[in-house]
């Protein structure tokens, strides 16, 4: 897979893993996300996705964070294929 292939976090399927490349969408949310470990270079795994256009549940730095779909669209990731420990 080419290393410059980038997609929004919101389009990763459940179980999908990616490395964060960039976070757009304002300084406030961006800083708040960084404090939870979502920063360029971080490895994230999508655990599940909520119904009705609901949030994306991501695992990052050993903790789970629910991100609204809109926010997740502003986080660009480089997909890494399914995680080895998928399904725990």
């Amino acid at each position: 897979m080419s290393f410059y292939f980038q997609v929004p976090l919101s389009s990763l399927p459940p179980g999908g893993v990616g490395r964060v490349v960039a976070i757009h969408g304002g300084r406030g949310p961006s800083l708040r996300l960084r404090r939870l470990g979502l920063r360029p270079g971080a490895l994230v795994r999508v655990a599940t996705v909520g119904g009705w256009g609901g949030p994306v549940l991501v695992e990052v730095d050993g903790c789970q964070v629910a991100l609204g779909r809109g926010l997740a669209r502003h986080i660009l990731v480089e997909p890494r294929g399914p995680s080895p420990g998928d399904g725990h």
Partner: protein, 634 residues
């Protein structure tokens, strides 16, 4: 420990004061309760504590004061919790800080340690939830961490009381943590700003980092500092092509990760029921039926338990009431005392059967960690009414009591979301209103209709949200909510929390019920009630209620359940004398009109009085409108 009053001696503050600082959901309140006795609500969701709470304890062999501060990821940001914590620490009125860190999230917690190091306050690092870290396969070299940071580090499991005496014993050895340097260009920028801060007391590096990061009131700076800040920020962001606040956060994170890698080894995590539970409860499809089942199960359990206890309690209380009435005889004084007893009896009959099981089950859901998951599941639906999933937590708390629900809106990051959520949370039927729904509609009309009222209430709240968010445009940035692991609830915490909430209810409600009921009985005995009722006829007439409902509705502003108890007193033959339609209309109006006084106070504090006035008027209009509508339909 907490009741000992010795030690308040010389002028000013004579007790050593220790503050608990930490990231949300790291267990500060659990630790606080374990040290000073049950004072703070502790729950398994981020942001339970919204205000600094104080308690007394034996601190390193001396009597001291312990302060539980709201959870915060950082000391530099502009969030409410961040501001409360920062201002408290900068007031200079703290002798030492215990940083409570979730050991299973050590890397992230150390970023806050580094910010505390910049403050220069003597500190101890408490690695809490060590059991959780082991579960995740993380082993931490506590001594190595203490050496690197230059502060005492103590491992604890606060929920089981492990390590607490060691923690308190090490307080006298608290020291400011060592601050590792940033990269050279950042240090240069910080030094440039710090050099202009000579008049500023306290911690110049902390202040410089705050200003360099673009936080904290540039408007009030002296011109020399303002210029230095502007130049340093411009130079740094030019050199790196990134916002200085982001650069600082990233560097601190990198330092924290280096520390983490030096002291921790990450092995294979254990997989157990907690990991498997979310496969079902947070499933995009299966999660929803389970949500409905859990909430319905909660209500069913409360009403089953309540009905059972009430069946035992009621005959006993009725018998007692009969004997008291017989002993008192007649006359104004007898009416006053008899009325007061009836009010108190109603308070007992309400509190014990329904409120206790409800509060226990709510505490269970909070402690197990289900609340944030409901926020996750309902985020998509909440967007349809212009809010997001975090608002669900205040709403759920609102079924217990509206006051904590209004205070819990502080967990929301956006001002407009806070306003709308608080305005809507006020309309959620609290325990007091549940008493009216169950005691009147549930008992005399049928449980199905009572359930319909709950459903209708949700629909009205959703509609009001839809309207409000269109009147107040500007949707916030969206949901950012940490989902903590499930935790096994501890009986001690469940009982402590239920007792704390119950105490608040009993201390306020029982005297109020007794006094109001006594005065109402007296007013009736003296023939004054008629005039009072006539003055609120403008409300009772359009609703088709008997004029005797006037005073009870006014008293309902003090406490919602008071309206039902008083109505029962005021009507000849009790509430059973009402038609079923009147019962439904009365209940609908009570559900929505003016929030109780305690809620109005909380709203005033959180939203300001003008907005509170609007909420009071708006909800009363909704109550009247719906009441009339239901009257015409039923």
């Amino acid at each position: 420990m907490a009741t000992d009053r010795r030690g308040a001696g010389k002028a000013g503050r004579s007790l050593p004061r220790v503050a608990l600082v930490g990231q949300p959901n790291a267990g500060k309140s659990t630790l606080f309760n374990a040290i000073v006795g049950y004072r703070a609500l502790a729950s398994n969701f981020p942001g339970t504590t919204v205000e600094a709470l104080r308690g007394r304890a034996n601190v390193g062999g001396r009597r001291g004061e312990v302060v539980d501060l709201p959870g915060t990821y950082s000391l530099l940001g502009g969030d409410l919790a961040e501001r409360v914590t920062r201002e408290f620490l900068l007031s200079g009125d703290v002798d030492a800080v215990i940083q409570v860190a979730d050991a299973s999230l050590l890397g992230r917690s150390l970023a806050l340690t580094l910010e505390l190091a910049e403050l220069g306050i003597p500190m101890i690092l408490c690695l809490n939830m060590m059991d959780e870290a082991e579960h995740k396969g993380i082993s931490i070299d506590v001594d190595a961490l203490a050496d690197l940071l230059g502060v005492p580090v103590v491992a604890t499991v606060a929920s089981r009381g492990q390590g607490l005496s060691e923690l308190l014993a090490s307080l006298p050895t608290a020291k400011p943590a060592r601050r590792p340097p940033y990269t050279a260009d950042v240090e240069r920028a910080l030094a440039r700003i710090a050099a202009t801060l000579d008049g500023d007391p306290g911690a110049p590096i902390h202040r410089a980092a705050q200003l360099l990061g673009g936080e904290g009131g540039q408007a009030t700076l002296d011109p020399r500092t303002a210029r230095a800040v502007e130049e340093a920020r411009a130079e740094l962001s030019q050199g790196r092509g990134e916002d200085p606040g982001v650069i600082l956060a990233d560097e601190r994170h990198a330092q924290a990760m280096r520390l983490f890698e030096a002291v921790a080894r990450v092995g294979q995590p254990q997989v157990g029921w907690r990991e498997r539970l979310d496969d079902v409860l947070m499933h995009p499809v299966a999660g929803y039926p389970f949500l409905v089942l859990i909430l319905l199960g909660l209500f069913a359990l409360v009403f089953w338990a309540g009905g059972t206890v009430e069946g035992i309690l009621s005959p006993w209380l009725d018998g007692l009431s009969g004997r008291i009435a017989a002993a008192l005889g007649t006359g104004p004084l007898a009416a006053l005392l008899g009325g007061a007893w009836d009010g108190l009896a109603a308070g007992i009959a309400i509190v014990l059967p329904y409120l206790v099981p409800f509060l226990l089950l709510l505490a269970f859901l909070e402690d197990v960690g289900y609340m944030p998951r409901v926020g996750f599941l309902l985020d998509g639906l909440m967007h349809k009414v212009g809010l997001h999933g975090k608002s669900v937590i205040p709403f759920l708390l609102g079924y217990g009591c509206t006051v904590p629900a209004v205070l819990a809106t502080r967990i929301l990051d956006d001002e407009r979301d806070r306003l709308v959520t608080a305005a809507l949370a006020v309309m959620i039927p609290c325990a007091g209103r549940t008493i009216v729904i169950m005691g009147l509609v549930g008992r005399y009309v049928g449980p199905g209709v009572a359930l319909l009222l709950y459903g209708g209430n949700v629909a009205v709240v959703a509609l009001a949200g839809w309207v409000l968010t269109r009147l107040l445009p500007g949707e916030g940035p969206g949901l950012i909510l940490e989902i903590p692991p499930y935790r096994r609830p501890r009986a001690k915490n469940l009982l402590g929390k239920t007792w704390l909430r119950l105490k608040g209810f009993v201390a306020l409600a029982w005297p109020l019920l007794a006094v109001s009921s006594g005065l109402l009985a007296l007013a009736e005995a003296l023939g004054w009630a008629r005039g009072l009722n006539a003055s609120v006829r403008f409300l009772t007439w359009p609703l088709g209620l008997p004029s005797e409902a006037g005073v009870p509705l006014v008293l309902g502003i003090l406490r919602k359940e008071l309206s039902l108890v008083m109505l029962d007193e005021a009507l000849v033959g009790g509430v059973a004398a009402l038609t079923q339609a009147q019962m439904i209309v009365f209940t609908v109006f009570v559900l929505f009109y003016v929030p109780c006084l305690a809620t109005v106070g909380a709203l005033g504090k959180e939203l300001g009085w003008r907005r509170t006035g609007l909420v009071v008027l708006g909800t009363t209009a909704v109550g009247l409108l719906l009441g009339v509508l239901v009257r015409l339909l039923v």
